[in-house]
């Protein structure tokens, strides 16, 4: 890899100072940098200023209360996975945090960084000379998408793990920026466009993630090329509530398959019935219909479609088994 491009680093100690710093043209926010440093070393982006958000106290800390969980955006993934207020009541979230990279990535990487992770693609996460030799691509410097050359948009896949369980739990995000604070559902942070998947205005950054209390039992699983360290080929979170043997609540969230993480639509049709083989098959079909993996990874798109469905079916089955005495 190349060295880092020229930049200077600012380390604001308050939200207001970070917002002021974010008004500088060519500035970029960073926390753990496990993804951004690799991209910068690949010649992707040349921010004149990096604004390291980790010295801001408001971005730290995990608090649990009657309103649920409040997670600072600069909380490290290792911290998140081990915290008793997370690991006990929100096992899917802890599992997703533990499924990010290797131990050293989780010591540096943060919640905010994982939620704002850049999208990934075979034709994008490559060295500068590789991309130049390939004529670049729509996401950076070029104008076509090598994955779908006749298409109009970039198909790079969102590959953050945390988004899936947080969507399944109905999390919201608090965003700071030049126009003050705003709070919105996590899902509204994302758009289905690999080159513009984050709906953050210039100068905005994540402050906190808020997860509602009394979560439904949930689980997260991902398929990946290397078990010990890898981005998801498909990542699935399932939250399932049962009364007796009938499903009274179901939320399924997917990551790694599309340019954004998303909540599966149409799960209401699966309510009221027990989780049996036929039910699982219907869930799997629903997943297959809504995911749209493209040739952005070394593994085939069709494999990712089927593995996403298989994971959803398996997780729902495990959750139902665990709930049935």
């Amino acid at each position: 890899m190349d060295g880092l491009p020229e930049f200077r680093v600012l380390t604001p100690r308050s939200v207001a100072a970070a917002v002021a710093a974010g008004a500088r043209p060519g500035s970029r926010f960073v926390a753990g940098g496990t993804d951004l440093m690799a991209n910068l070393r690949h010649g992707i982006g040349e921010p004149g200023t990096l604004i390291d958000l980790r010295d801001i106290p408001e971005l730290h800390g995990i608090a649990a209360g009657p309103l649920g969980l409040s997670l600072g955006a600069a909380v490290r993934l290792a911290e998140l996975a081990e915290h008793p207020a997370v690991a006990g009541p929100y096992p899917a979230l802890a599992a997703a945090a533990l499924a990010v990279g290797g131990p050293a990535h989780r010591e540096a990487g943060t919640i905010g960084g994982n939620l704002c992770l850049d999208t990934r693609c075979l034709f994008y996460n490559r060295s500068a000379w590789w991309r130049e030799a390939n004529g670049y691509c729509m996401k950076h410097r070029g104008d076509i998408c090598h994955v779908a050359p006749t298409g109009k948009r970039c198909h790079a896949a969102f590959s953050g793990d945390l988004a899936a369980p947080l969507l399944a739990h109905g999390a919201e995000v608090e965003i700071a920026g030049p126009h003050g604070l705003r709070r919105q559902p996590l899902g509204d942070l994302y758009a289905e466009d690999g080159a513009a998947h984050l709906l953050l205005a210039p100068g905005e950054f994540l402050l906190r993630v808020l997860v509602p209390p009394d979560p439904w039992p949930a689980a997260y699983a991902k398929a990946r090329a290397r078990g010990a360290i890898d981005f998801p080929l498909a990542g699935v979170a399932v939250a399932l509530r049962l009364e007796g043997t009938g499903v009274t609540g179901l939320r399924v969230a997917l990551t790694g398959t599309n340019s954004r993480p998303f909540l599966l639509a149409g799960t209401d049709a699966l309510l009221g019935a027990p989780v049996d083989a036929g039910w699982r098959e219907r869930l799997g079909k629903l997943v297959q219909k809504q995911v749209s993996p493209m040739r952005t990874t070394l593994l085939a798109a069709q494999y990712r479609r089927r593995v996403a469905a298989a994971l959803a079916e398996r997780l729902a089955g495990h959750l139902a088994d665990a709930a049935t005495p």
């Binding site: 060295g3 491009p5 020229e6 930049f7 200077r8 290797g102 050293a104 540096a108 010990a228």
Partner: protein
């Protein structure tokens, strides 16, 4: 491997204070210098290896405040106020540490290139968990790739070091 990159706006070097292998250290370093380059090129601490150089292999694992971190994805500037430890810090008075000795005696190293990273990742584990089980060792070394050993001897080395701990 090129590290030269022309830019109209050179990053200014500033003095950053941190601890390096147990000693207070003042580093005159530009904001865009990687910890890996600082350790190897400026400090001559070449025990920290440049492997994949892209955050995927663990060969450049060092400890920052006792936690494993990848020096190829970390800026030297980020270390201000923290304690950076490299493989060079483990030997005491010229003698290998218990963990290093276990890697040596259990043949946990072959070509040796991944070894400093493996040892530092294992060191971080053993400081936190004096008696890790095999699953914990495998998890702690999950980010470190070895192309020679097949990992079995490495895991045995960490188990032996844990067993021999006082």
């Amino acid at each position: 491997m090129t590290h030269a990159r022309t830019s109209p706006r050179p990053s200014r070097a500033r003095v950053r204070l941190f601890r390096l292998n147990g000693t207070d250290h003042a580093a005159l370093v530009a904001d865009n210098v990687l910890l890996l380059d600082y350790l190897r090129e400026a400090q001559g601490l070449t025990g920290t290896k440049r492997g994949c150089d892209g955050g995927e292999c663990g060969a450049c694992t060092v400890l920052i405040d006792g936690s494993p971190r990848l020096a190829c994805l970390t800026r030297a500037q980020e270390c201000e106020g923290h304690h950076v430890e490299t493989i060079e810090a483990l030997a005491e008075a010229g003698r290998m540490s218990r963990l290093q000795r276990a890697f040596h005696e259990r043949l946990g190293t072959q070509c040796g290139y991944c070894t400093p990273g493996m040892v530092m990742a294992a060191e971080a584990l053993l400081r936190r968990d004096k008696a890790p089980d095999e699953a914990a060792i495998r998890a702690a070394l999950g980010g470190n790739i070895c192309r020679c050993t097949g990992y079995v001897k490495i895991i045995e080395a960490v188990q032996e070091a844990a067993r021999d701990a006082p």
